[in-house]
Amino acid sequence: MSKKTINIPLGSQHISLLEPVRFKFECENETIVGVDSDVGFVHRGVERACTTKFKYDTIGYVVARICGLCAITHSMSYTAGVEKLLEAQITQKAKYLRMLLLELDRIHSHMLCLSHTAESAGFEAMFMRIMGDREDVMQIQELLTGNRIQFDYVSIGGVNRDIDTLRAKEIALQLAKLQKKIYGYIEEFENNWSLSLKFKGVGGLSLEKAYMFNAIGPLARAAGLAIDVRNEIDYLPYKEIGFKMQTGSGGDIHARNTVRLNEILNSIEMCQNILEGLPEGEIFTKVKGKPQGETVVRYEAPRGELMYYIKGNKTAILERVRIKTPTFSCIPAFSDIFLNQSYADAPAILASFDPCLSCTAK
């Protein structure tokens, strides 16, 4: 056998990719020995637009359009930053409603990722099943906010819509139904033979490497690294509603799927707690003034830590908006995981990262 290597690209357009990213694999026979990655095929200049075209009170709607899957996380992080600068006091009810939507968003994002990992393992039926059940979550979101994807729910000072008892009841019923389905998935992902062939022991990341490459989100938690922004922030009362850190071991695709499934269960539990113990009060308080100074806001998006840096100079147009997305932070870890794996497994490994390139390139 010769030691000659060949280069095989994956992307920027590839049948297994949902979004444009390019990985250049250096392969020795079937094994990947070198990785080079390139993101930024869908750059839209959002950061620039935020500091030139739009006023600070409308940017919440602009940044929500960066990504369809974590729209609420983006607008929430931005709004929290501006509220910090304006020293606004948000009512407890508004905070609870924000958390409700954030967790619903996490549920549907994780379900999408799970369905795609199943699809990339060749299990189309599972993909259909999860996508069909994900529709229930989309309907809950539509009931709550009036729209399926672009919620436009958070505004500076609170939230835009209240929830009535009928809706809350319907949402709770749907969530209870979904919970049963998730237990079914856990059994399937745990015991299905064809899924375990593609997932168990493939694409592993050790705890040391997760530390070294600064991995975040489900990728790090699957390796056993207990890192979650929800555990660290204080502007949303996550501990009151029963947040539990979900960690796995092994860091392979199977561990990542398990962490995601457990997180969905925890999110459903949190949503139920919110609906049960929703405080009374106003959902919106008027905020006055223009942002001045600078601030950093971190929030846990479905894929990991999302960071916003906002700088204002007491005018309606901000001086700087910097967005650091979870997928961007994870790219060094991604590249390392591919090493010494089979090229045939690359699409499945990539799907298990749940990369969001429209966030990354923005």
């Binding site: 709607y61 602009v62 009036g146 505004s155 819509r161």
Partner: protein, 136 residues
């Protein structure tokens, strides 16, 4: 194995998860966010909706045939672009007379064809608007 065989067999008789649209209508809640609707007779021409709109889908431009509304002192006319609108509802929240002058319906936007020249007409309005505010 037996379990999955049983499941496969029952699946033969179960209904599909998809809706038989348009024979079965899709669910449409009263509160779903759709087109913004406007009542000329109740408007007080404060122009708050125009300022609040993030994409600039509401414009008030000068007109030769103003409405008979006595609040319309500057002789302006309301324009709304449903294709530019993001249905966020900021305008309705900014309106001093919500549900009377401006409200959000649950209707979908109409489909535009090339002959409608939606963009071209809107660009003309935007130019008029810019000119009016530069001179006033």
């Amino acid at each position: 194995m037996l379990h999955s065989l049983f499941k496969a067999f029952t699946n033969l008789f179960s209904k599909p998860q998809t809706l038989d649209y348009p024979a079965t209508p899709i669910r449409k809640d009263k509160e779903y966010r759709g087109l913004i609707e406007y009542s000329e007779t109740d408007c007080i021409y404060c122009l708050k909706c125009e300022k609040a709109c993030p994409p600039g889908a509401i414009l008030f431009t000068p007109t030769d045939q103003p409405s008979e509304n006595e609040k319309n002192k500057k002789a302006l006319e309301y324009h709304y672009n449903p294709y530019l609108c993001i249905y966020c509802g900021e305008c309705v929240r900014a309106c001093p007379k919500p549900q009377e002058a401006l409200w959000q319906s649950n209707k979908k936007q109409p489909i535009a064809s090339k002959q409608d020249a939606v963009n071209e007409q809107w660009f003309v309005l935007e130019a008029q608007h810019k000119k009016f505010y530069n001179t006033h």
